[in-house]
């Protein structure tokens, strides 16, 4: 994902990380620290991270997402991909760019 975002630039694609660590019993402060450490290791410490207090119960309630994976929303706010991974994101983005 890092490569795709760097290619497109943050003016075109924004990533919001939804961390579900608290759902596994980790307290929010520890989750924030651990997430930042992991993000720094991957070189994406500047990405926006949200620590959800109830983990996947929150992602299920808000977005009906009950597993790991990516959801792509287009510039008009329309959902273009659910439960997708790196290559699929790139394909959807290039399809969108051709329109």
């Amino acid at each position: 994902m890092k490569g795709i975002q760097e290619k497109l630039g943050k003016d075109k694609l924004q990533v919001v990380l939804l961390s579900v660590d608290c759902g596994y019993g980790m307290d929010p402060k520890r989750a924030m620290e651990a997430d930042l450490k992991s993000m720094t290791k991957q070189g994406v410490q500047h990405w926006t991270n949200v620590v959800l207090p109830n983990g996947m119960k929150d992602t299920a309630r808000m977005f009906n997402l009950d597993g790991y994976g990516l959801t792509l929303v287009d510039p008009d706010g329309i959902v273009r991909g659910i439960d997708i991974y790196g290559g699929e994101v790139e394909a959807l983005l290039s399809k969108g760019a051709r329109k």
Binding site: M1, L17, A60, R61, L65, L70
Partner: protein, 213 residues
């Protein structure tokens, strides 16, 4: 028999005997437990802001929940069987949708709080009417869920699986559906910034559910 055990027995018996009467009176049935072959209850009339969906055996199938067991020498085993559904039609804002639930209970309408994942019954809605039900077209019945651009809750399910009653819900739109607008959200980032959908207008937004655990 001690007095407390006797009173427990009376309470339990009264509750069990009262259940069918309560359901016929249109009362909310929570956590209906049903086993294969449970006797169907008569279909109730729809109340205000309710829809009663008649359910029938369906050709719709969906992936079941992944069950992890123990095999030889304690090695984990993975089992994910398709679930057979009963389904019915519901019309929302002029659009028809097929809605399905498992053909056999238990139809749990609440989730266990100590579980990290929601354990309530999943309701499937074929949002794109293509006869397929990927995971993202299934919703937990303990939460309000989205059909088209409206929110509903499950009010009751027949233990025999022949009907379910849905109620229109006033909660804000939630849940993502392919080809439809993403619901508005309000989240707080770890740096203390408030995030809403409108902040991303004109840009692609990628929501990434993750964990470092």
């Amino acid at each position: 028999m001690s007095r407390s055990r006797l009173s427990d027995l009376i309470c339990a018996t009264t509750f069990v005997l009262a259940l069918p009467a309560l359901s016929l009176m249109g009362c909310q049935i929570q956590n209906v437990q049903a086993s294969a072959g449970a006797k169907p209850l008569p279909m109730p009339a729809a109340g205000k802001d309710e829809v009663v969906v008649k359910l029938q055996p369906s050709s719709l199938k969906r992936e079941g929940v992944l069950r992890i067991g123990k095999g030889w020498f304690g090695m984990p085993t993975f089992d994910r069987k398709d679930e057979v559904l009963v389904s019915g039609r519901i019309k929302v804002d002029g659009e028809n949708f097929e809605i399905g639930i498992p053909n056999v209970g238990p139809y749990l309408l609440t989730t266990e709080e100590d579980e990290y994942r929601n354990t309530s019954m999943r309701v499937s809605i074929d949002a794109d009417n293509n006869g397929e039900l990927p995971d993202h077209e299934s919703w937990f019945s303990s939460n309000p869920f989205r059909i088209g651009d409206r929110m509903f809750t499950v009010r009751a399910v027949d233990p025999g699986g022949t009907w379910m009653t849905l109620a229109k819900s006033d909660v804000p739109l939630a849940g993502v559906i392919l080809g439809r607008r993403c619901p508005d959200f309000e989240l707080w980032s770890t740096s203390g910034k408030k995030l809403t959908l409108s902040d991303y207008k004109g840009k692609y937004l990628l929501l990434d559910v993750w964990s470092m655990t």
